[in-house]
C-alpha cells in the first residue's frame, strides 16, 4: 500500500480579515498553498479575489491575521518576502522602455550586474516567444505581446511563487488560448507555485491543481479541481463552477444507496447518495452530462433519468451550443454544432433529455427550497 505524499506548504494564511471603509472585504480563517501547485481562485466580480491576491502577495496590509511563507511569518511591508514572488496583473503595466529593459527590471532592482542581466533575459524572451521584440518599445506592442512581456518580466526573477490576477481577461480568445498554453507549459517546466485568479472556468481547469471558490469575501470551497467542479459544496458554488442545472427537491424514496427526489413539474430525479426520505436536497447536473435525443425514448441508454421536454432556447457558446430544455423543470445541456445539425435540434422541438443517476451531484440542505 503506497502512502500519498502530501506536498509541502509554501504559503499559509491564518485568520485573515480585511476591512475597507468599515466594510469586511475578506474573512478567511485558513488557506494553504502547496509547493509546485497551481491554485486557481474563481468567483464572481467583487468577490474579493484580487484583494486576497494582493494580501497574499504582501502588497496589502490586512486588518487582522497572519501570512506565513515557508513557515515564517511575513513581516510588515514584506520586503524580503516580495523578493521571492512575482505578480502579473490584468493590465501588462509595462514601463516606457524597450521589451528587453522591461523584462530586466526585476533583475536591476535586485542589483544584478549588466553582464548577468544580458545573459539571463534572452532565454526568457525566447521562452515567451518575444525574442524578436527585444529592442521594440513597449508602447508599440499588441495586447498579447505586452502580456507576454509582463509574464517574462515576472518569471525571469525565478520567483518561488507567482501571482496571476486575471492576466488574460482583456485579451481576444485566440491570443488568450495561445498564452494559456504557454503559461501552462512554463508553469509545469519550472515547477513554479502559482496563484491565479480568473472568472474563466476553462482557464482554471487548464492551469489549476486546486480550486478555491471565493464568494462574498469568503472561501466557499477549496479542493482538487475534480472535487470542486463535480461536487460543489453549495448552490452558489454549483452555479459558479458551471453546474447549470440545480434542482431543489425532497427525497421521496430510498433504496440500496440510490434515491428518488421529487422536483419541480411533478417529476422525479434519481440519484446516488446517503439520504433519508423527506430530506431536502439540491440535485446538481452539469450540462455536459445531459444527452439529448429527438426520440421520446432513446434506445440502448442506461440513464435512470429520462425526461420528455421542449427546446426553449439554443445559444452558441464558443465551441458548444447551450440548449435550454423545458422538462417541467429547466434542464441545460451542451451539444456540439455537429450534433445540433445531425439531430436537427431547433427551438420549439420536442426532445428527450437523459442523464445517469451517478451524474447527479447531491447537496443536502437543512432548509428546503421551494420546488
Amino acid at each position: 500500500m503506497s502512502a500519498t505524499i502530501q506536498p509541502e506548504i509554501l504559503l499559509k494564511l491564518e485568520d485573515l480579515l480585511v476591512r475597507r471603509g468599515g466594510v469586511t472585504v475578506l474573512d478567511i480563517s485558513r488557506l494553504e498553498v502547496f509547493q509546485g501547485q497551481v491554485l486557481s481562485l474563481i468567483g464572481p466580480n467583487g468577490a474579493g479575489k484580487s484583494t486576497l491576491m494582493l494580501t497574499l502577495a504582501g502588497l496589502l496590509k490586512p486588518s487582522r491575521g497572519a501570512i506565513f511563507f515557508q513557515g515564517e511569518r511575513i513581516a510588515d511591508g514584506g520586503f524580503a518576502y516580495r523578493r521571492h514572488i512575482a505578480m502579473v496583473f490584468q493590465e501588462p503595466l509595462l514601463f516606457d522602455a524597450t521589451v528587453f529593459e522591461n523584462v530586466a527590471t526585476g533583475l536591476k532592482i535586485r542589483g544584478m550586474s549588466r553582464g548577468d542581466i544580458v545573459r539571463a533575459v534572452p532565454g526568457y524572451l525566447e521562452r515567451f516567444g518575444i525574442g524578436h521584440l527585444a529592442k521594440r518599445s513597449a508602447r508599440k506592442l499588441s495586447g498579447g505581446e505586452a502580456q507576454r512581456t509582463s509574464l517574462a518580466r515576472a518569471f525571469v526573477t525565478k520567483p518561488e511563487i507567482v501571482f496571476l490576477d486575471e492576466p488574460f481577461s482583456a485579451l481576444d480568445p485566440p491570443t488568450r488560448e495561445a498564452l494559456t498554453n504557454d503559461l501552462e507549459r512554463i508553469l509545469r517546466e519550472t515547477h513554479t507555485t502559482a496563484i491565479a485568479s480568473t472568472h474563466d472556468q476553462t482557464e482554471a481547469l487548464r492551469l489549476a491543481d486546486r480550486i478555491a471558490v471565493v464568494i462574498g469575501g469568503k472561501i466557499a470551497q477549496i479542493g482538487p479541481v475534480a472535487e470542486v467542479m463535480n461536487r460543489p459544496a453549495d448552490e452558489f458554488v454549483a452555479s459558479f463552477v458551471g453546474v447549470e442545472t440545480v434542482l431543489p427537491g425532497r427525497v421521496v424514496r430510498v433504496s440500496a444507496g440510490a434515491f428518488a427526489a421529487a422536483v419541480a413539474g411533478g417529476r422525479e430525479v434519481e440519484a446516488v447518495g446517503q439520504v433519508e426520505p423527506g430530506d431536502a436536497v439540491l440535485c446538481c447536473v452539469r450540462p455536459e452530462q445531459v444527452t439529448l435525443s429527438p426520440n421520446p425514448t432513446p434506445p440502448g441508454s442506461s440513464a435512470r433519468n429520462v425526461f420528455a421536454g421542449t427546446i426553449r432556447q439554443i445559444t452558441p457558446l464558443g465551441l458548444f451550443q447551450r440548449i435550454r430544455v423545458d422538462c417541467g423543470f429547466e434542464l441545460v445541456a451542451y451539444v456540439t454544432r455537429q450534433s445540433l445539425e445531425e439531430l436537427g435540434l431547433t427551438e420549439g422541438k420536442p426532445v428527450s433529455a437523459s442523464f445517469k443517476a451517478t451524474a447527479v451531484h447531491v447537496i443536502r440542505r437543512k432548509e428546503p427550497l421551494p420546488l
Binding site: 523578493r83 493590465e91 516606457d96
Partner: protein, 232 residues
C-alpha cells in the same frame, strides 16, 4: 512703428557686438533663473511625489494649496520674501536682501508650487496598479518612487519648462528683492522695466527680444527631448 524697428535693430546690434553689459545681464538672468528652477525641481518633484503617493488627513487641502500656489503672484512673493529678509525680519540675519541670492530665493518660491502641482498630477496619472507592480518586482520604497518618477519624465519636462518659463519672465519679485543694482542684481526683466521707465525703448525692446529668444531656445530644447520620447 519706427520705434519698434529701431528697437529691433538696436537689439541685433547689441547681440552681434556682444555688448558687455547686455551679455552680463543675460548670463546673470540665466544663472539666477536656472538655479531657482533647479531648487524648485528638487523640492517640487519630492513634494509632488510624496503627496501623490500618500494619504493623510487634510491631503485635499494640501492639494488645493499647491494648485493655488501655481498661480502665486510674483509681487506677493516679492513682498513676503522682502519682509522675511528685511533687517528686522525673521531671516534678516542672513543679510541677503538686494542680492542675487534673494532673487533666487523668491524665484524658487514662485516655481516650486508649479513643479509640485505638475509632478503631483503626473504621478497621479500613472496607472493605479503600477506602484503595486513595481513593489511586486521586489523594489524598495525608494526604488519604487524612482521608477515612478522616471515613468512620469515626459510630464516632468513640462514642469521644468513651466517652472523656468515662470521665473525667467517674472519681474515683480526680482525688482523688489534684488533691487535692480547695476552689474550685481540686474536681470533682463528688471533692466527692461528700468529702460522703459527712462524712455529708452530701443534698449528695452532689445532686452525683451533677448529674453524671448532665451525662453524660446530653452523651451525648444526641452520640447525636442519631450517629443522624441513621446509614446506613439
Amino acid at each position: 512703428m519706427d520705434l519698434i524697428i529701431e528697437g529691433v535693430k538696436q537689439a541685433l546690434y547689441l547681440l552681434f557686438t556682444l555688448d558687455r553689459e547686455v551679455i552680463g545681464i543675460t548670463l546673470l538672468s540665466l544663472q539666477i533663473s536656472g538655479t531657482a528652477t533647479l531648487i524648485s525641481l528638487f523640492i517640487g518633484i519630492t513634494a509632488g511625489t510624496l503627496v501623490a503617493l500618500t494619504r493623510f488627513p487634510g491631503r485635499q487641502l494640501v492639494v488645493s494649496l499647491i494648485n493655488t500656489g501655481m498661480g502665486l503672484p510674483p509681487v506677493v512673493v516679492g513682498l513676503f520674501v522682502t519682509i522675511f529678509l528685511w533687517r528686522n525680519g525673521p531671516f534678516g540675519f542672513l543679510e541677503i536682501l538686494y542680492t542675487p541670492a534673494a532673487i533666487i530665493l523668491a524665484q524658487a518660491v514662485i516655481a516650486t508650487p508649479i513643479v509640485t502641482g505638475i509632478t503631483l498630477a503626473a504621478i497621479q496619472h500613472l496607472p493605479a496598479n503600477l506602484r503595486l507592480q513595481i513593489l511586486a518586482l521586489g523594489a524598495t520604497r525608494a526604488q519604487m518612487i524612482w521608477i515612478l518618477v522616471k515613468e512620469a519624465r515626459l510630464p516632468l519636462l513640462a514642469a521644468v519648462m513651466a517652472g523656468f518659463g515662470g521665473v525667467i519672465s517674472e519681474v515683480g519679485a526680482s525688482i523688489m528683492v534684488g533691487g535692480n543694482i547695476k552689474g550685481y542684481s540686474r536681470v533682463l526683466t528688471t533692466a527692461t522695466v528700468m529702460e522703459t521707465g527712462r524712455g529708452n525703448f530701443d534698449i528695452a525692446i532689445a532686452l525683451s527680444v533677448i529674453l524671448m529668444l532665451l525662453a524660446f531656445c530653452i523651451n525648444a530644447i526641452l520640447t525636442q527631448i519631450q517629443q522624441r520620447e513621446r509614446p506613439r
